[in-house]
Symmetry: C2
Subunit: 212 residues, 2 copies
DNA sequence: GTCTATATTGAGATAGAC
DNA sequence: GTCTATCTCAATATAGAC
């Protein structure tokens, strides 16, 4: 409740952590070693604190994870809600969701990375997985709409399409590293370009030559 | 060295495990809970053995992981080598590598899944990551060749292209479940279709309408 | 090839002083 | 808000019998 409690990520001085400051360091460690392989001891070392100091801010290791996952999930769900609220053609909403998802991935890279690696070992993890499944289901429904509309090819199953799309998008967390705001836009453009138009040169001969 | 040592996965009777039999159960558990979160105790329970019985077959938990990762990596490297040996246009070799990778993913689903989740916590894991990086690098070189050749669009960086492609392909392990041989071919077809031609209906209006 | 111990380490978490 | 010290439990791994 002190004044400095609200500017977590801006305060970079060593001691006197708030939840946000601890969260950032913890998530980075979780992503580097994996959640299970990251001990409270290692976490304490990274923070320059004792283990018990961490327990002053969080009730358990699990609770740290819960906070980080909720942040990522809320952002992704927000993208979906915005697209739904915007209305319009399904194809436009698909476009909006894909671009929005790329931006969330980039802006909340660490937390989303953590989310994508959750296996469902604990109640916290299982709740997160349930929210992810709901998100995936909504995206699949959107793709189905776009197929019915005639704007997306319908020779591939909608759930396969949405899984491949998000497989591509989600894989960004494996290699993308910060670097500015316009990079996220360019990345989103590239993803959309590959997803909608494919990699083949528009002028190149089609099926026969490449796949023959 | 007994006769039954060579038919591991075919022998389904409970006791009298060989390395292969233990490996399969272990990898399944590693994928379900995550490697670090899977204890030798849980593994023993699943095998219907005591912990010490496992140590008769493997020197350590790490060695079990090493075997599984090597199997997946060797298969993927084999795909690359075959494509290189086949020669021909870069575009054809890209196609061959993508299809081959999908088939390896499907045929060695469990081991590849494990490989894709390795974080680099131990020497074994770091060696596996190094082999993965070498594979990725070779694929990127292949994409560059195809771009220079004029068969793949060159407005997107080759390393981004290969990362998005393999992001899409690798994500298959998250949802694909057995189900027959032709499924793998159909899946490979779908991946190639999305990757090369994109999702947009060939007849639909292009950039202006969808992205406007 | 498997078992019942057991050694040993490190984990998550708590108590209570400052 | 942080510390030292400690509890408790579960982990990997080993010893040695059958």
């Amino acid at each position: 409740m002190r004044a400095m409690s609200d500017n977590g990520s801006l305060r970079r001085g060593r001691p006197g952590y708030d939840q946000q400051g601890i969260l950032e360091v913890a998530v980075a460690a979780f992503n580097q070693y994996g959640y299970d392989a990251t001990s409270m001891g290692v976490l304490a070392d990274r923070l320059g604190l004792s283990k018990s100091a961490i327990y002053h801010h969080f009730a358990s290791k699990d609770e740290i994870l819960e906070r980080a996952l909720d942040d990522a999930l809320s952002a992704l769900e927000g993208v979906l809600n915005e697209a739904d609220a915007a209305g319009g053609r399904a194809a436009d909403r698909v476009d909006q969701v894909l671009r929005g998802a790329v931006h969330v991935l980039v802006s909340k890279l660490a937390n989303v990375t953590l989310l994508l690696r959750v296996r469902g070992n604990t109640e916290v993890e299982r709740r997160a997985l349930a929210r992810r499944r709901a998100f995936d289901k909504a995206v699949t429904a959107l793709v189905e709409e776009a197929q019915a509309e005639g704007t997306l090819r319908s020779d591939i199953d909608a759930s396969v399409v949405s899984r491949l799309l998000f497989g591509m998008i989600n894989s960004i967390v494996e290699w993308y590293r910060p670097g500015g705001r316009e990079d996220a836009d360019k990345l989103a453009d590239d993803v959309i370009a590959v997803a909608l138009d494919g990699l083949r040169m528009p002028t190149a001969n089609r099926v026969e030559e490449l796949l023959g």
